[in-house]
């Protein structure tokens, strides 16, 4: 640890956490409340309009600050923190699956009335895409170890394309099911289905965000190794959760 050496005392401030917290507040809770609780769509859109740019700007600023502070005393701690975050996220999904299993095992007939015939092609395609993205993100990590900058960027772009493709296909799948009359309020199964796949998709979305905020600075040669490492750990977690989603919600 290099913190035993004497160093000049500094006074730090950062405005990104402040902006990010307000951005998130407007983007998610407030727009949700305005639309669904108070029935004011205009206010909701306004709140989204304030929140989304704030979140984007503050994440960009935060990432920039993090990359500049290369010799900060907590350099590399994110590799330690990411598994802890994943434990927390894991319990989020455990809660959801526990609810799903509880409902399923105590119900008289499964699937409940109103569930359309299951199609198995889409979940297999989605699983294949995530498996390929696991491979490509691993390749990206390896090219950083070597180090090959061009290879890293290329594999990162490939991973990003898979992740976005996954999101697109999930959206397509949802719209098809909703078109068949299988909406979130149809029955207990549909509620669980959209909640669990929705939670997983939101994690994919966060993954896309993380990859983009690695890719943009990487194009001009700024890469933080611990950041990439923890992003890959996160992405493998998203894949792992998908295996539970696909086996429990689609194929069981």
């Amino acid at each position: 640890m290099n913190q035993t050496v004497e160093h000049e005392l500094k006074w730090h401030t950062s405005y990104w956490p402040f902006l990010l917290s307000f951005g998130i507040l407007f983007l998610a809770p407030l727009s949700f409340i305005f639309y669904f609780v108070y029935n004011k769509p205009m206010l909701s859109i306004l709140s989204l309009g304030v929140g989304a740019p704030l979140v984007l700007i503050s994440i960009a600023g935060w990432v920039k600050e993090g990359l500049e502070d290369e010799h900060g005393y907590s350099q590399g701690h994110s590799i330690w923190a990411m598994p802890i975050l994943i434990v927390s996220e894991g319990f989020l999904f455990i809660g959801l699956f526990a609810a799903y299993w509880g409902l399923r095992l105590s119900s008289q007939a499964w699937p409940p009335a109103g569930t359309p015939e299951k199609a198995y092609a889409m979940p297999i395609i989605l699983t294949a895409i995530l498996a390929l993205s696991a491979f490509s993100s691993h390749r990206a990590e390896k090219s950083l170890d070597n180090p090959e900058h061009a290879g890293f960027v290329a594999w990162l772009v490939v991973t990003l394309i898979f992740a976005v493709g996954f999101m697109g296909l999930t959206a397509y799948e949802w719209s098809r099911l909703i078109g068949e009359g299988f909406t979130i309020k149809t029955n207990v199964y549909s509620s669980a289905f959209y909640t669990i796949t929705g939670f997983h998709a939101s994690h994919v979305l966060v993954g896309v965000g993380i990859f983009i905020s690695i890719l943009i600075p990487a194009l001009s040669g700024k890469i933080s190794y611990p950041f990439v490492k923890s992003a890959c750990i996160y992405w493998h977690f998203v894949e792992l959760v998908w295996l539970f989603v696909v086996s429990q919600v689609y194929f069981w």
């Binding site: 913190q3 035993t4 006074w11 409340i33 701690h77 927390s88 989020l92 809660g95």
Partner: protein, 536 residues
Amino acid sequence: MAETLKWNSSGAESFYRTGRGLFSWIFTVDHKRIGILYLCSILSLFVLGVSFGFLMRLELITRPGPFIMSAQTYNSIFTLHGVIMLFLFIIPATPSVFGNFFLPIMIGARDVSFPKLNILSWWFYVAGASIAIYSLVSGWAPPDTGWTFYAPYSLRTGTNVTLGLLAVFVLGLSSILTGINFVTTTHRLRAPGMSWRRLPLFVWTLYATAWVQIIATPVLGVTFVLVMMERVFGIGIFDPAKGGDPIMYQHLFWIYSHPAVYIMILPGMGVISEILPVFSRRTVFGYSAIVYSSLGIAGVGSLVWGHHMFISGYSYTAGVLFSFFTFMVAIPSAIKVFNWVGTMYKGSIKLDPPFLYALAFIFLFSIGGLTGLILGTLSVNVHLHDTYFVVGHFHYVKFGGGGFAFFAGLHYWFPKMFGRLYNKARATVAWFFLFIGFNMLYFPMFILGYEGMPRRYYNYLPQYHGLQVVSIVGSWILVAGLILMFGNLVYALFKGEKAGVNPWGGETLEWRIPSPPPAENFERIPVIEHRPYEYK
């Protein structure tokens, strides 16, 4: 007494003076300033929560009412009293205020691992608190479900439940981020020589608490999201009319909310373990036993959620198991009490205010813990469930335990945080009022509950009137004590004597740096050579 660390004169400037103006506070990433920010926000909300509790008690002075409020208002007030006191005061109080301020100092670090994440957690806390308060004044009836938000009532009531749930969800986010930050900090930023077995006990309890926050909070988050979706989109996970299961709500809710009880009490136990050795001038008795019992409480405490649901109609076997684990938690808790008493035994005790609060903690927590065993007994619980006995029990544990530990910490670390000494005589008088008022307020509840007075009722039978009045007068004494205590501290903030580096004679690292500490705490990171609390 511990040796003061050397500073050159320019470096030792207090962290209050290093940056100036509003922006140096709202954009700060310094863990000490964040601790002060938490202190201010948490105490303001505590005052709000106390006012609600006070009004609720006052309403019961006449029967059948109304004395000062309608029955519907009464329901909302006890709901918000619960939400504010639990999610906004007692869960974040000790870890967020003293944890933020002292965790890095005690392990010999300049800051936490993720300073920016730290201030982000505070902003999330502010956002959650604002949403909770807004649900009160939004013009729509505030939530009236009780802080437990039990389904199916919370799905169907016309009040503004969604906002209350959203507030708790945002607060949970803040709690998880703080937990991750503390665990990483404890792992990565310990000073050279600060091995796990040399960590101060407060750090150990913060570490155990942080893990409970990380593991349990997301389950509550997901549960509340499901209830919100149920209200907004009409899904049917908990609603029996749509094939859902309301008992599942209770399981998911208590899987978080019971471990949350240990989030409330564990850091408090850490504060007490810091204070007792200092004021008894003895090394702590059974360091390892206290450490392992903290981890044991965190572990076994995660397996007892079902004891809130003995009469919900789940299987008898489940009831027996949960009852068994509940009794198991008593073992590590009792080990701690024995260790504290062992620490004081044959010590040269100084009856300063922090020590008095610590003594009150041990007394009140023991009563709370032992009545918990009565409630954990399957057969007795059937009769006492949802009575004033439960209310008395959890106030003894949470307020008498967690709350008094917070006050103890406040009196112990006040000279370090603000560089001023408070008047000890006035602090002792305030302590006396608090102790008497507390027991007068909550002890009658055990008797009332035993006699059958149900909790959360706006009206009651005439035979309960006498004890209700005793309890109400107790609440007045308690509030008087709180006003005295805070008045004394606020006065000391401006007019108090300057505190030296080590006014109590503590041995941990925070007592070796100036009061208030300078920015970045240490000029040179100290090398740790022995355990804490080595009194000769």
